[in-house]
């Protein structure tokens, strides 16, 4: 040591030591600066991130089914991650799953290529989600569809439903899914096809509200009853439960029965109506033969049958009417006001019994507003739609104010308010329209996103915001951007659904299904060619189909896989065909081979290492029956 000191000198060594120490401190500082901020440092942001975090490989706590509006689809996401998982095509063709290209789904869609999916409703047993089916209505082409939640596929499309024009006021299920309720937004002269001058709108046009009957075993829908109404615009509804079971509620606007520029003409009266329809009485009236038949549907005329429908004044141009979980109240909101009204079901029943009426509309009694209302809650500007939690709170969306108000049922006090981005339409809480809401999560389905995302040009997505409602204060947790257009959503606990991943071979009863390469065939019968094909890793058998120009070709294609996610596609270029077949499924493809030439067909849904090799050829030989008209030049 002494030798070293002697060699370099004390002072120099001291400097060297100081230098080393400084370097060490500096490097430690740099290291600590580069470290990711801690949860404490992030504060609320970290809390929000954790609240919506679902680790890779983990699954969400809830399913979110949200309507895809004029896309015609229903979207499926997970809550709280808000990750979009799947799209269920309903009212429009969707090449991604081959929907609308095979004979079966083509038949369901008819000639329609679009629909306007509005309000999804999960089937209920005793007022709680049972996870069997999801119903959605088509505001565009007046249809209603049933999706089976066993395989997340559209199984039935009913409609266009007779007498309905703009099937907006649905889908709302009664507590045991006896009916799916839906009402007509527009009024037209009935039966459809009749033309009456627009000037005679008030007297010649009619509205209807409908009860779509659901078969309890199969889910098959049929029109159970309709109730004729004055030409109001029916908007939204809900089914009663508990003390209000047996009643259906719908809001109406334009009770002025006006035409022209509705923005002005339909907003002149201070109040419009909520209709209370006794669906059990309607059912009975139909059973007793008291209904008329219009376009094949049983329609009850309130002028002839009393006790089926009553009107209750509601602040003007209301949107939502929502029944509280205990069924004691229904909440009606006038979208141009700053209050929402809580009506008392018991008071309504008393008013009906005592004939406490303040007027009537075409023979339908109007109940006295003051006799039926319990409270006017000062929620804020533009209340639209209300949902509930497990703590006795109601949550009302405020379109004009761009906010959600949280208020207490019974005390009618507003407890909290949170701004949303922007212009919220509906909102959904976890199982929030059942008798047993879960609380926890609220999703604000906003109409405008105003560029809170990467700029994607003028065609902007909608925004769906996840709000944590488990605490006293609502907390914004996550911004998700969704395709047009989430009108309403259902949030169901994940364990209530038990979907399959493979169609079991034993369940495939299609007589044209084949399961072995040796059973595949091409058969001719006159100018009809039938192909029985299999799809399996990595071949479409047969790999060659020879037909004559003009032949009617039917291909029954079976995906013989029994493994999750082994989907196969069948794409036929220039014949505009793409079908996707799930494991264990058989689909039918029908077309007329009117174009001569060689048309390769191939698997469109990536399946395996040799997916690219999964192909075959359709040979359409010129000649045949169409040669005369379509000979190539």
């Amino acid at each position: 040591m002494n030798a070293i000191i002697e060699k370099y000198g004390k002072t120099r060594l001291a400097w060297l030591g100081a230098g080393a120490l400084f370097t060490l401190i500096l490097s430690l500082t740099v290291v600590s600066c580069n470290k990711a901020p801690s949860a404490e440092e992030l504060g609320g942001a970290a809390e929000s991130a954790v609240a919506s975090y679902v680790a890779p490989g983990d699954t969400d706590e809830y399913y979110l089914f949200y309507s895809g509006g004029h896309s015609g689809n229903v979207y499926v996401a997970g809550v709280p991650s808000m990750r979009h998982i799947s799209t269920i095509p309903v009212f429009a063709p969707y090449p991604a799953t081959g929907y609308g290209f095979d004979a079966e789904s083509k038949k369901m869609l008819g000639d329609y290529t679009w629909g306007d999916v509005h309000h999804p409703a999960i089937s209920e047993t005793k007022g709680d989600y049972d996870g069997r089916w999801l119903f959605v209505n088509d505001n565009g082409n007046n249809r209603i569809a049933r999706i089976d939640l066993r395989d997340f596929k559209t199984k039935q499309i009913l409609g266009p439903v007779p007498n309905v024009s703009g099937f907006h006021g649905g889908s709302f299920v009664t507590p045991n899914t006896e009916y799916v309720l839906a009402a007509s937004r527009f009024s037209v002269p009935l039966p459809k096809g009749t033309v009456a001058p627009i000037e005679e709108y008030a007297t010649k046009y009619s509205g209807v509200v409908s009860g779509i009957k659901v078969d309890p075993a199969s889910g098959e829908m049929s029109v159970g009853f309709q109730v004729l109404t004055p030409p109001f615009n029916w908007d939204l509804g809900d089914a009663g439960k508990g003390p209000s079971d047996g009643w259906a509620f719908w809001t109406s606007y334009n009770t002025e029965r006006a035409t022209g520029k509705l923005e002005v003409t339909s907003t002149q009266k201070d109040r419009d109506y909520i209709a209370a329809v006794n669906w059990k009485a309607a059912e009975k009236a139909v059973a007793e033969g008291k209904a008329d038949t219009i376009s094949g549907v049983k329609v009850i005329d309130p002028k002839k049958v009393e006790g089926v429908i009553y009107l209750i004044p509601c602040s003007k141009s209301p949107h939502g009417v929502d029944v509280s979980p205990d069924g004691k109240y229904f909440i009606g909101s006038g979208k141009l006001q700053s209050i929402t009204t809580a009506y008392n079901v018991e008071k309504m029943l008393t008013a009906i019994q005592k004939k406490d009426f303040s007027g009537n509309e075409d023979g339908i009694p109007v109940l006295n507003y003051d006799s039926v209302k319990d409270a006017e809650v000062n929620v804020g500007l533009g209340p639209l739609h209300t949902q509930f939690d497990d703590q006795g709170y109601a949550y009302t969306s405020l379109f004009v104010e761009s906010a959600v108000a949280k208020w207490k049922l019974g005390t009618w006090e507003v407890a909290d308010k949170i701004p949303v981005s922007y212009n919220i339409g509906h909102l959904a809480t976890a199982e929030g329209d059942t008798v047993n809401p879960d609380g926890k999560y609220l999703i604000a389905l906003n109409k405008l996103s105003h560029g809170r995302h990467l700029n994607v040009g003028p065609s902007q997505p909608e925004s769906s915001q996840l709000i944590n409602i488990s605490g006293e204060k609502m907390k914004l947790v996550y911004d998700a951007f969704t395709e047009p257009e989430p009108h309403y959503a259902q949030i169901i606990k994940a364990d209530k659904l038990k979907p399959i991943e493979v169609y079991p071979k034993e369940e495939n009863k299609n007589p044209n299904a084949v399961w072995d390469v040796k059973d595949t065939k091409v058969e001719r019968n006159g100018n009809a060619v039938t192909v029985k094909m299999i799809a399996v890793r990595s071949t479409l058998e047969p790999t060659k189909i020879e037909v004559n120009q003009g032949d009617k070709v039917t291909i029954y294609i079976t995906n013989i896989e029994q493994t999750t996610d082994e989907l196969h596609g069948f794409g036929l270029g220039e014949y505009n065909i793409n079908v996707v077949i799930d494991p264990g499924e058989t689909k039918t493809i029908e077309f007329v081979a009117d174009k001569p030439g060689i048309f390769p067909y191939y698997c469109t849904n990536f399946c395996s290492a040799l997916h690219q090799e999964m192909q075959g050829y359709l040979l359409v030989k010129p000649g045949g029956s169409l040669a005369a008209v379509k000979a190539p030049k």
Partner: protein, 217 residues
């Protein structure tokens, strides 16, 4: 020190050893062995699992005395899946109908059980030794036959297969990596049942021998 030949020649000399009646506790041991054969008919003899990134839970194959069974969940039919994957390397599909073993194996196990029961009833050492020798033959033959099957599956690969792999023998016991799969092969409950049967027979023979020796002294 006494050589092996010494023991046998002594046994031969004392032929009475083979006629020796079995002691009650020996009969009990055989009976336990026979009871142990019952699960051998109903539980898998052998398991094979195939793990890879795509199948973290593993594809599984269970070989019974009378059938071949793949793991089956609502999401997947493993036997079907194994065959679907094996076709890429040109391996023949595993078909239950290709295994003649499934017809005679349960019969052979039943036969052995009957012979063992016969030994407990008639109760002579010679009967017991007959069963033991037959069982040893049966066990070794089955083991060889299983190995031979694996060899054939891994060696008779279709030359036109999309993926060419060098012929291989899947592991009879233990772990082997084949392509992107880690194959694990191990005995099942039924095999342990067969081993129990063998152990019980051995115990019965040894016990008889001991008591014979004791009687002599």
């Amino acid at each position: 020190m006494e050589g092996k030949t010494g023991i046998i020649s002594r046994l031969m000399r004392e032929a009475s050893f083979f006629d020796q009646p079995l002691a009650p506790r020996c009969r009990l041991a055989i009976l336990i062995g026979v009871l142990a054969l019952i699960p051998a008919l109903f539980f898998p003899l052998w398991h094979m699992t195939f793990r890879s990134n795509q199948y973290p839970d593993g594809l599984s194959l269970h070989i019974y005395a009378s059938q071949l069974e793949g793991g089956k969940t609502p999401q997947r039919d493993d036997l079907r899946e194994i065959n679907a994957l094996n076709h890429y390397i040109g391996m023949r599909p595993l078909l239950e109908s290709d295994f003649s073993e499934f017809t005679w194996l349960p019969f052979a196990i039943g036969g052995l059980a009957l012979l063992a029961l016969r030994a407990t009833v008639i109760g002579k050492m010679s009967n017991l030794i007959d069963v033991f020798v037959l069982f040893a033959y049966f066990g070794l033959y089955s083991f060889w036959s299983f190995y031979h099957r694996l060899y054939l599956y891994g060696h008779n690969l279709d030359p036109t297969a999309a993926i060419k792999v060098a012929p291989f023998t899947p592991p009879l016991i233990g772990t082997q990596v084949v392509g992107n799969f880690t194959v694990n092969s191990y005995p099942g409950l039924a095999s342990y049942a067969l081993v129990t049967f063998a152990v019980m027979l051995t115990a019965a023979i040894l016990l008889s021998w001991k008591s014979a020796k004791a009687q002599k002294q």
